[in-house]
Structures are given as structure tokens and as C-alpha cells.
Symmetry: none
Amino acid sequence: MARPRSGDKHKAILDAALRICAERGIAGAPTSAISKAAGIAEGSLFTYFKTKNDLLNELYEVLRTEFSRHLPDFPHGADARARLRYIWDRILDLGAAHPEQLTVLAQLRASGKMVNDNRAPTFALAEVMRAAIELTAGSELSDLPAEYLVLMVRAQTEITIEYINAHPESAAVCRALGFQILLKGLTGS
Amino acid sequence: MARPRSGDKHKAILDAALRICAERGIAGAPTSAISKAAGIAEGSLFTYFKTKNDLLNELYEVLRTEFSRHLPDFPHGADARARLRYIWDRILDLGAAHPEQLTVLAQLRASGKMVNDNRAPTFALAEVMRAAIELTAGSELSDLPAEYLVLMVRAQTEITIEYINAHPESAAVCRALGFQILLKGLTGS
Amino acid sequence: MARPRSGDKHKAILDAALRICAERGIAGAPTSAISKAAGIAEGSLFTYFKTKNDLLNELYEVLRTEFSRHLPDFPHGADARARLRYIWDRILDLGAAHPEQLTVLAQLRASGKMVNDNRAPTFALAEVMRAAIELTAGSELSDLPAEYLVLMVRAQTEITIEYINAHPESAAVCRALGFQILLKGLTGS
Amino acid sequence: MARPRSGDKHKAILDAALRICAERGIAGAPTSAISKAAGIAEGSLFTYFKTKNDLLNELYEVLRTEFSRHLPDFPHGADARARLRYIWDRILDLGAAHPEQLTVLAQLRASGKMVNDNRAPTFALAEVMRAAIELTAGSELSDLPAEYLVLMVRAQTEITIEYINAHPESAAVCRALGFQILLKGLTGS
DNA sequence: GATGAATGAGGCTTCATTCAT
DNA sequence: TATGAATGAAGCCTCATTCAT
């Protein structure tokens, strides 16, 4: 683990925090362990983040946001179903490749320490919302707040990932049929 | 002959733990605060629970289980839809009446400290599973593991409660249409 | 371990204390463990001994004294050498049979908590002193305080037991030659 | 770059531990008292010693070893009797000057918590052994394990110091005649 | 007398944060 | 800016002792 060059320390700390939190839980992630994993001195961490809580908040934001960066060939022109499916697949891919990211995201969300000052929705979230609105348009479901629908989609993907990680042999079925349930729920077909 | 170990005190500690954890998060719930809230001395807590973790585990079990106790007039004879709806309603009721219980349950689940030695499913969980199986019978969805379906229902109820607590004005819509989505997802109608 | 009959509780506690102290050291011998080992309730211990320190002091006294009870056929008429040898042998016997007793005695002595209100010497100690005085009579060594000689004999037996317990194969040599050293030291022959 | 870990502080802690243990016994030496006596914060103690037991072990090693450092003009060329006498005198000197060191050493030895991973014998111990071997050579006593003889010499010095500290007026006699006993024991003359 | 729950003062240790170097 | 020693407030837990039953 080469010591990262000076400008990247900020990122190195976030990476280290992610790793440690994933391995040992937020409660088991002292700043000392994080700075060690980041290859810096204990005190240096506080040059980059004023408090541990600031670090955690930024980590939360990064994790929340980062996903949207990995949607290069999003099918902008396709229909709502296809666009939702695309995001569904990418999230499941991420869940398989980096389960820690989602684990930690969930832990941070549950910790009740996140500031959450009505941040801008990420690209993915915005797209999920658009798709959900389109899919429910015209039916009674259009009475539902769009944010509620977004929460629902997120919950569905999260438990699908959780289940797949615990039972990898069911990955294919859950991916396919999990989406089908989601879609039928929203469209009735 | 001696002062008997008090069942009340046992319960008082669990109640206090629930309250403190709900208010300040698990991490912000020192045993000192819990015992104080329970009206006992710091050391006494350890007469009833050998370690803090034991207390948390028992709290988890209680919360997990307790819900099933409040289903007096469960419609055993009704069809799957009605039975699922009954449970859906009761959970939402609980979420409205005691949001802490579900908050803390989620926190404990996320903490990764629960022993979870393949405990028997609660009555409610078992019924959800039965209903889900009946509802998906005959369709492709019957290929899905029943546990996955249960996770899904739980996730759906949780986010519904979360949303309602944040936006009480949408309570009615979310309760009705949230269930409709769930049902359509499972049955396609 | 049958619960001892009421009158023997005092002794049961002392026995238990001896056992626990030997196994886990004085520091690792909480009153709770002692009372449990004695088959009584935690609080009952304090019916028999006002404080833990009192118990320890009495245990000390018992251990110190008890040895003298097991000298039934002490050769009162024999010469100093034979009498000293008799005691030497009996102490080594005890050290082999009940190493805990001496271990704990040493620990208690080192703890610095013993009251030690110039207690009467035990029979054995008194005999050691008489023998030592006789053996050194007429030589320069008679200038030494008799108590010093007693300490010396005790030290010699203690380390002999310690060594034998650690290296049982040397038991015979140490017993024989250890005594020879002691005797030559005192008499020069 | 940072405040360097201070060798002084390391030593100050050991000194403080020695002092407190001597005054109040190991059991009466909380880390809080030690750090206070060392003039540092409670937490700082653990910068220098990972656990209290580590501190105690190192203290033990220091005490065990340190004595050998104060034998500047050891008479390497002299005969066994003279060399043994030299060490005997130095130990008694130490016992008079720093009785705590030997008290605590004995306490630590008795505590049963020392790691004692077959450490190299100190210079003094090695010399005692050599002298004892020379002195007993040719007699039956040469059948005795050398370690036993070392234990014996140590025991003899310890009780001599103990007695002298309790009865300073006998210092001269005990020093002279105590050694004479030791020597006669080993050589028979 | 016997019981064991109750007490609360400490004990050891961890940790976020500060600050001298 | 980087470092890591220093800090001291908690945190969890143990334990001698008391006291209601």
C-alpha cells in the first residue's frame, strides 16, 4: 500500500473509512484505524475532516452519489421500463461487485447521524423517479408521492442484493423476477 | 428468601434501552443512561443482562417477536389477500403508534451484532410467507425463494412507515396504494 | 459437593477460599466465587467474616497454624538434628501433598494485608527455633537472633518445595542434600 | 516531527509503579494512581504500556535486571567465596537502600502474572550459579541442580534483608553470620 | 440465620481531538 | 502541512458490601 501522494489524501481517507466500516461496522471504526489504513498519521485525518462525523457525512454523500457516475451508456431514449431495468441491473451489479458500499451506506443511513440537508437527488435517483412517474401515469398510483416510489425501488433493490449476497445461487431468479414484481407493482402488467 | 429478581425491572431495562436507542441511536446509548432511565443503579443492569450485547440481543428478540402478540383477530379463514392486508395494516398501525420500535429494530439489524441463531420465524412472518406463497402460486414468481418474498414485504412496509412518519399527510394514500403495489407485484392484478 | 451442614460453614468458606486463591490467585478470588465454591449465598459469607480481609487474615492464620497439627509422632526425645529433620520432612511432605497451602500462604504473606499482631509461634516454629538454637549453641552463630534462624529454615524449605514441585525428578536429592546444606550451615559439619 | 515519545516518561511510569506498588501492594496500585504519580494523564499510560499487565511485566524485568547493572567492580579474578561475598554484600546494600525494589520484585513473583518466557539469567544470577558450582564441586552437593542452589542463595539474601529491615540493630551480625551460614552450608567449612 | 438482588465506587481501557514539534 | 504523543471524558464491567425478604 504505497503512501498516496499528498493531494489524494482526502480520497485515501474516504476509501479507508469505507473499508474499515465495511469490515468492522461504524462503531468498530475508530479514527485511528482509519488513518492507519489511509497511510497517514492519526492527527492528519483532522486536517481533512474537522470531525469524525464530518468524515462520515462526506462518506455517505460520496457513496450516495458515486453510483451515478457509473452509468455511462444509460439508454436515455428508451422507454421507462427499459430505463428502470437498466438502473436495476447496474445496482445489482454494484451490489455484487462491492457489497461493502451498500452495507456501509445502509449503516450510515441507520446511524441517524447524517445531516441530509435536502441534497440534490443523484442522477440515478432522478431517473428512477422519472421512470416511476411515467410507469404509474394514468393509474391511481399517480396519486402517490414520487419520493415514495423512489424509496420503494431502493428498498426493493437493497433487499434483492442482500438476498443474493446471502444466497448467490438464486442470483439469476431474483434479478429477473424481482424486477418483474417491481414492474408489475407499478404498472399492473 | 432474598429480594426476588424482579420481572418488572427486567422489562424496565428493556423499555429504557428501547427508548434511549430510539432517541439517540444504539451508539449513543451507554449502559449508564439505560440504567438511569430504568431507575436502577448502573451495576444492577448487569444482574439482569450479563453484557450490554446480551441486552441488545434480547431487545432485538423482543421487538422482533412482540409484534406477533398484537394480532388478536387475525382472519385465519380469509384468503391470502385479506390476510396479507390485515398484517400490512397492523404493521402500519404499529409504525404510527410506536415508530421507535421499528427504528430500533432496523438499527439493531444493521448493527451486525445480533446473534440471530436461526430463530423461529414469528407468527406474523410465517403468515406473510404463507400468503406470499399462495399469491404467487401458479405464476413464474413461484420460482422465487419464499424468504425473498418475505424480505420484500418487510422492506415495503418499512419504507411506507418511514415515509408516512415523515409525511403524515400522505398516510392514507400510502397505506392504500402501497398495498396495492405490493399485491399487484405479487399477483399481477 | 454436598451443602455442608450449618456449623461447618465457617470452615467451608475457608476451604473454598483456599481452593480459589490457589487456583486463581488472591486477586482473582472474589467473594462471590468463594461463597459459591463454599455452597452458600454471597451474602452469607459476611455472616461469618465481617470483611474479605478478615477472611483472608483468618485463612492466613489457619494455614500458618494447621501444619503443626499434623505432627503426631514428633520425636520429642531425640537430638536437635533429628527433630529438625523430622520437621523438614513433614513440611516437604505437605508441600508435595498440598502445594496450594504453601502457595497461598506465600501469596498472603506477600500481599501485605495481613495483620500479623505478633501471634504466638506455632508448635513447629517453636521447635525449629529450639533446634536451631541448640545446633548453633557454642559457635559464633549463637549471636544471631533466633527469629532470623527460623526465617532461614522456612525460606530453605519453601524454595525446596518450590523446586521439587517444578522438577519432581529431583525430589529425593533436594530433600536429602537440601537438609544437609541447612544442617552444615548451622553446625559446620 | 511530533512530540517524540519520551524515554523519561517511560521511566517515570515505571518509577511511579514501583513506588505505588511498594507502598500499597500490587492490588492497591490502580493505573490511575500510577499515572498520577508519574505526572501524566490516565490515558497516556497506555501510550507507553499497552495494558497494565504489560507494565507490570516490564517492571518485573527491570527490577530483575537492574541489580546487575550496579556491580561495577565485581572481582572477576577472585575465588568463589570472595565473588559470592561480593554479590551478597551488594544485594544487602540494595536491600538497605531500596527495600521497595525487593519487596515489589517478590510481590510480582508471587502474583503469578509474570510472563517469564525463559529469560536470560542476569549477570548476578549467573555469577551466583558459577560460585555455587565451584563451592560445591567435589562434594556430594554437586549432585544438586545448580538452579536449586541459586534459589537457595536468593532466599537467604531475601530473608536477611527482610530481617534487617525489621531489626536494623542486627544488620551487622546478620550480614556477617548470615553469609557464614550460607558458605558453610555450601562448603562445610 | 440465609438469601441473592441492589448498590455505586472504582478499575482498565478506548478514542476523538488537540497541539507541540 | 504532517506527525503522533498527550489528553481526559466516557464506556463497560467487577466487586465488596448492604439489606429487604
